[in-house]
């Protein structure tokens, strides 16, 4: 059973890291989690992003957060990537597999996955 003692151990381990983690993000990744996003499948997209970012050891550089309706409900699930000094990248119609690729190629490799962006969509 996952005990509170184990949680205590996590706390001891993390305590020193906490200060370091705040405000050092290179990337900010935001997932739309309003009714439209959730209904379209945003929950597994968010959870995959959180998991993959941590598995890649990028947690100190990347924050993954949630927001409300971004306003383009027909393109949900939507993921926005913000990087200081660069234009925002908007990924649309995401799923867990696409999220994995975005972590691998964009957040890790620095190369935007152009085919998933909103500008690659046919109007």
């Amino acid at each position: 059973m996952k005990s509170l003692a184990e949680l205590q151990a996590i706390k001891e381990k993390m305590k020193n890291k906490v200060v370091l983690r705040e405000g050092t993000g290179d990337y900010r990744v935001v997932v739309g989690m309003a009714t439209c996003g959730i209904a379209a499948g945003a929950r597994p997209v968010l959870n995959t992003l959180v998991e993959e970012v941590n598995n890649s050891g990028l947690a100190d550089k990347i924050t993954v957060s949630q927001t409300g309706c971004i306003g383009i409900c027909q393109y949900e699930p939507v993921v926005e990537v913000f990087e200081a000094g660069k234009e925002k990248v908007t990924y649309v119609k995401m799923d867990a597999d696409k999220a994995k690729r975005v972590v691998e190629e964009h957040l890790k490799g620095g190369k935007v996955v152009a085919e998933y962006t909103i500008s690659a969509q046919k109007v």
């Binding site: 059973m1 996952k2 509170l4 184990e6 949680l7 205590q8 996590i10 706390k11 381990k13 993390m14 305590k15 906490v18 989690m33 309003a34 009714t35 439209c36 959730i38 209904a39 929950r43 597994p44 968010l46 959870n47 959180v50 941590n54 947690a59 993954v64 957060s65 949630q66 409300g68 309706c69």
Partner: protein, 182 residues
């Protein structure tokens, strides 16, 4: 929604947006019924808003903060022969005792019952996105129950945030183990 757990995620987001410091999520199941109750201590709604929140056509045009979430939940409850009720007290009516309670009753054996789905994922998603607010979750079936209280975890963690990856993983594993044993 494909899963009731997604409705839970959606409705609880409203509670957080209403400024709730504590949101309680109860699922009470018997052989026949599933009752979902979400209680928050957020800012609540005035009687005028409360009257309109389950009407998608009226509400989306006038109060953009409401939208489709409650109408969807209402439809999903009623299509099983169940019902949705909402009570709310706005902060302007009572500064010390305000908030909203949403209660949805489902007949589980009805063919149109939306399955509960991955409720563990809903709880971890809520905590990941809102580490500074508290959630109490309790799922009871017959005599067994699964529960989680972020206030207890917070007491152990001190200032380590609840959305630390290792903590979220612990919560996920803890809930999964509780379900296995229940």
């Amino acid at each position: 929604m494909k899963e009731l757990s997604l409705n839970i995620l959606d409705i609880t987001e409203n509670s957080v947006k209403a400024g709730a410091s504590l949101t309680e999520i109860f699922i009470d199941e018997s052989d026949e019924k599933l009752v979902l109750t979400i209680i928050d201590n957020g800012c609540g709604m005035t009687d005028e808003v409360l009257k309109t929140v389950t009407d998608p056509f009226y509400t989306t045009r006038t109060t953009r903060k409401v939208g489709m979430g409650l109408p969807l939940l209402k439809m999903e409850a009623e299509q099983t022969g169940g019902r949705l009720s909402i009570t709310s007290k706005h902060v302007s009516a009572d500064a010390d005792n305000h908030g909203t309670t949403v209660c949805a009753e489902f007949n589980k054996n009805h063919i149109d019952f939306t399955p509960l789905g991955d409720v563990v994922s809903t709880i971890t998603t809520l905590i990941q996105g809102h580490p500074d607010t508290d959630f109490f979750y309790r799922h009871s079936f017959d005599v067994k129950e699964v529960s989680l209280d972020t206030r207890e975890l917070r007491a152990v963690l001190d200032d380590v945030p609840l959305n630390t990856f290792e903590v979220i993983k612990w919560i996920e594993d803890n809930l999964k183990e509780q379900y296995l044993e229940a």
